[in-house]
Amino acid sequence: MRWMAKEPVISKMKKKRILQLISEGKRVDGRGRLDYRDIRVERGIIGTAEGSAMVCLGQTEVVAGVKVGLNMPYPDSPNEGILAVNAELVPLASPTFEPGPPDERAIELARVVDRGIRSSRAVPLEKLCILPGRRVYILFVDIYVLNHDGNLIDASALAALAALMDTRLFGYRLEDDRVLLDKSIWLQLQVENYPVAVTVANIGGELVVDPCLDEELAMDARITITIDKEGRVCAVQKGGPGTFTVDQVMEAIDIAREKASELREKVLGG
């Protein structure tokens, strides 16, 4: 199973320390149970991309770039544009990332971010259709992890959303039934929903948000809950080798709901 990632290890002493702190209601970096690390979002940092954003979540750094093109629509959705989310865990970001095709971690990351954007209909794909069945806009969202210090999903989801909000589409002309690019016209991409991912980790039976890398290595499992601007759940993903009790799942939903609106306000201004 070539796509399996070799998981990094954590020393038993460090893990014991993290569990000890958590049981006292504390965390390795001094945060509270439901505190995010400092978040910084910067849009429009890549000139060659039609939209881009960088998100720093503590030491975790993620860049998302959007490239726009024209494409044939998929046969089962002839009236819709195409959204393709991809993630690269580039080797400069962590000693555990290796060059090569995306492994299961990168694929899971991209697919969870994709589900949040798609389910919440953040990008109205039907508005990206030019000629039904023939020509539509295609948006490639490429997520680039530059430094891995845990909670890549939340940082990537924010980066992808911010990059889409920064995206401009080039115009087109119709000539003899052909679609030609017209880069003298630019339109802002309409983003209609703001899905925010909140990852809750179960560490020794306690739930904490935004686990840093050491906490991820010590955790039993994580659950990512993506909440849209109406407070609805639009994507969920449990990960990691451990479990959640039912009560923990229900509690995680309530935590996510609260943290998502906080994050959305802080980062996107509504």
Binding site: M1, W3, M4, K6, D76, S77, P78, N79, P102, E104, I107, E108, A110, R111, R115, R118, S119, S120, P132, G133, A221, I223, D228, G231, R232, V233, C234, A235, V236, Q237, K238, G239, G240, P241, G242, T243, F244, T245, V246, V249, M250, I253, D254, R257
Partner: protein, 248 residues
């Protein structure tokens, strides 16, 4: 050109295949179906048909992938090219790679991997015919195959999806219900221990609806759990009969 959305819930509140919202599809599970595998299981859930096989614990190759303190659980979820309407390329898709990961993480909590350091346990799942709910049926079958292989387990893992179609919360979605429904919530759990080992969701649900869907799926898991135990029991009844038949 537009693909018509079929009606999923009839006037009588029944679903397209006649089920009530909280009904599972007919499920047939069988254990020990492959001679070469250390453990195997076959499941039919409605029109979904899946084979699972377990090899191991066995020596791991290449050796550097082994772990000094526990076994490595590896899992491959794969769909046969003929398992869907449009032929699927046999190369592993991104979806299959993600599902291989979440299925592994759904099974792992049930195993005592620390009993078998420096070894590998391989779980292979082949979807022969797909009609929705394949990741959950795969987990149900794979956990039986692990038990059939004689690998010590904390509990069996049972899985089923709940979802929302035509505004109604339903259990065990078919492919059409999944594609045209509003949401899909696959869940796996160890029913004896009350622990959730897989939970995913796509679509749109209010937090209250999501919580309801989780409860509905858990209820479905408990019913599947009973079928799993029965399938395991049947296998030993069969063995006992064979032994008694050979007696003096």
């Amino acid at each position: 050109m537009e693909i018509e959305k079929p009606r999923l819930i009839g006037e009588d509140g029944r679903r397209a295949d006649g089920r009530r919202p909280g009904d599972l599809r007919p499920i047939h599970v069988e254990v020990d179906v492959l001679a070469n595998a250390d453990g195997s299981a076959y499941i039919e859930q409605g029109n979904t048909k899946i084979l699972a096989a377990v090899y191991g614990p066995k020596e791991i190759h290449p050796r550097h992938l082994g772990l000094p303190d526990r076994a490595v659980l590896r899992c491959r979820y794969h769909m046969a090219p003929f398992s869907v309407e449009q032929r699927k390329s046999p190369a592993p898709s991104r979806r299959e790679i993600e599902l291989s990961k979440v299925i592994r993480e759904a099974l792992e909590p049930a195993l005592f991997l620390e009993y078998y350091p420096r070894t590998a346990i391989d779980v292979f799942v082949e979807v022969l015919q797909a009609d929705g709910g394949t990741r959950c049926a795969s987990i149900t079958a794979a956990s039986l195959a692990l038990a059939d292989a004689g690998i010590p387990m904390r509990d069996l893992v049972a899985a089923v999806a709940a979802g929302k179609v035509d505004g109604l919360l339903v259990l065990d979605l078919t492919d059409v219900e999944d594609k045209h429904g509003e949401a899909d919530v696959p869940l796996a759990m160890m029913p004896g221990l009350g622990r959730v080992t897989l939970l995913q969701m796509d679509g749109l649900l209010t937090p209250e609806e999501f919580k309801e869907a989780v409860k509905l799926a858990m209820d479905g898991c408990r019913r599947i759990y009973a079928l799993q135990k029965e399938a395991l029991r049947e296998r030993y009844v069969r063995i006992r009969k064979e032994i008694e038949g050979e007696g003096p």
